[in-house]
Subunit: 338 residues, 2 copies
Amino acid sequence: MAETRQWQLASRPVGEPTHDNFELVTVDRPEPGPNEVLIKTLYQSVDPYMRGRMRDAESYAEPWDVGDPMQASVVGEVLESNSSRFESGDFVTGDLLWAEHIAADAGELQRVNPDHGPISTALGVLGMPGVTAYWGTTDVADPNPGDTVVVSAAAGAVGSVVGQLAKLSGARVVGTAGSEAKVDWLTEELGFDAAINYKETDDLSGAVDETCPNGVDVYFDNVGGPITDAVWPRLNVDARVAVCGQIALYNETQVPTGPRKLAKLIETRAKVEGLLVSDYQPRWGEALQRLSQFVQSGDIQYRENVVEGFENAPDAFLGLFEGENIGKQVVKVADRDE
Amino acid sequence: MAETRQWQLASRPVGEPTHDNFELVTVDRPEPGPNEVLIKTLYQSVDPYMRGRMRDAESYAEPWDVGDPMQASVVGEVLESNSSRFESGDFVTGDLLWAEHIAADAGELQRVNPDHGPISTALGVLGMPGVTAYWGTTDVADPNPGDTVVVSAAAGAVGSVVGQLAKLSGARVVGTAGSEAKVDWLTEELGFDAAINYKETDDLSGAVDETCPNGVDVYFDNVGGPITDAVWPRLNVDARVAVCGQIALYNETQVPTGPRKLAKLIETRAKVEGLLVSDYQPRWGEALQRLSQFVQSGDIQYRENVVEGFENAPDAFLGLFEGENIGKQVVKVADRDE
């Protein structure tokens, strides 16, 4: 019988995840049941929110069980189909597994059209991160022309799209990122008005002051921690804060502490709102359509950091916490034309 | 020439204010100018937000200058009038001074009708705290029938009105307060479903769990600090947090720290909003009209803690930080019928 490989959760991390938390297991290749298709994974996504699923605690996403394969968004090719919706050779995407071959119900899958661009974008700018950025910007952060918008993790899969959407709305956009290469990409290619390399800045507060002389009207937070602490005192009256991610805190072993932030909200009457893309499921297609137009017109640019090889998927995931990726971090699992 | 007394800011407090920060000064009684009236103060308000004005830092209210009389809401009687709007014997209220006699422009004053109830209520349930509670509840916190609403400083001037308004909207209401007498008032007279005496509770988190078995849909925060820390993890999906005051933190000399709170907002998509009553200036009358109706119908009850004597105004103010007041803290400066 044919075999395949999958990554299972070997143990729950304490603090920063390590390779010991992941186990590469060879299993029988699944047989597709009624209305199922067999998928060969071409690209697998790794995303910061997965850190939460390694924990043994209820949150917005259910925790993974130790000894089970982990879940991920995947783009793959249909090898066999028991569904009238798909045939062999089709490209599909869905919330599936860290696995090289997957049997999935046809109802869980969306078609990916390779004529519309690289199929891996279904994991990034034309996938969950793009949709997060789209609704997070247009529905929660709501930048107006002339507003100063600060985006943390601005060179990431979500932040890079948020910043470009904010520019399209006429705002002044400042990003934070962790390398000179990222800062250059933001300011020279994506049109950000300024960017702060937080790893090279002794004085984050000063850097925010300098790049945001009129204060901050919108803060789109992917990071939390010290960057957020530096932005907070510069919030303007009626500022909006969209809380999308807190990756700086995901590996903390204690309840993280920091400056108390609520008093500033009285002074500014700022509104702080958490954001979860799954709430926008009914409007997913609307976002994808707009994002596709922006990508085709060149108004939104994107990058991918492609980690080669399924065996390196944990490295790709761990790399997110080191900020190694410019743009969307994806794992290339196999070639299309095998 | 007749004299009068006023309280001046003698020095800026470091940490908890003390009597040394206040100086009682005898000055010439002012003469009302054109369109001004001379007011004899009957009641003076002391409010937690005044702590911010003792600081040398810009915030939503301008800092007081050392050596100047401090400002306060006042209810008084007109002694002399150079305005066609008021005549001697009228009762008025306005944002005036910590002073026994005040010359004020008629345009700064509102009339107080003594037939509508005790004139001191113009400083409490029918004044700034009442209006804060009204718009904070109806416009920001927005409780729905069946919601669990937690109000901190629930026996205070604002919190007691918030809780009763939330009950009127059909919510289940839990208050926090600092004495058994307050807890009894909340649960036995104001109709709160439960109340937590935070000073007698070793386990605030457990107390919130116990009194809010279905989590917290609305948190109206007057206090900040550990009480807020205990409520936060119990916020439900789509919860609303109205940040009205942070009295637990006003006397801190360092930037106060505490558990980081933003990640919880992603999990819950909760909305946190600061609230300042001055934003509702155009709708002040609307709130007062509704509050008057509720007070007259008995749907809203109130209490005042009256500190006798102008010389005791600093004590009344300092008492706010000890939680000595049930309901609105006011200073009785003089009798009506002098």
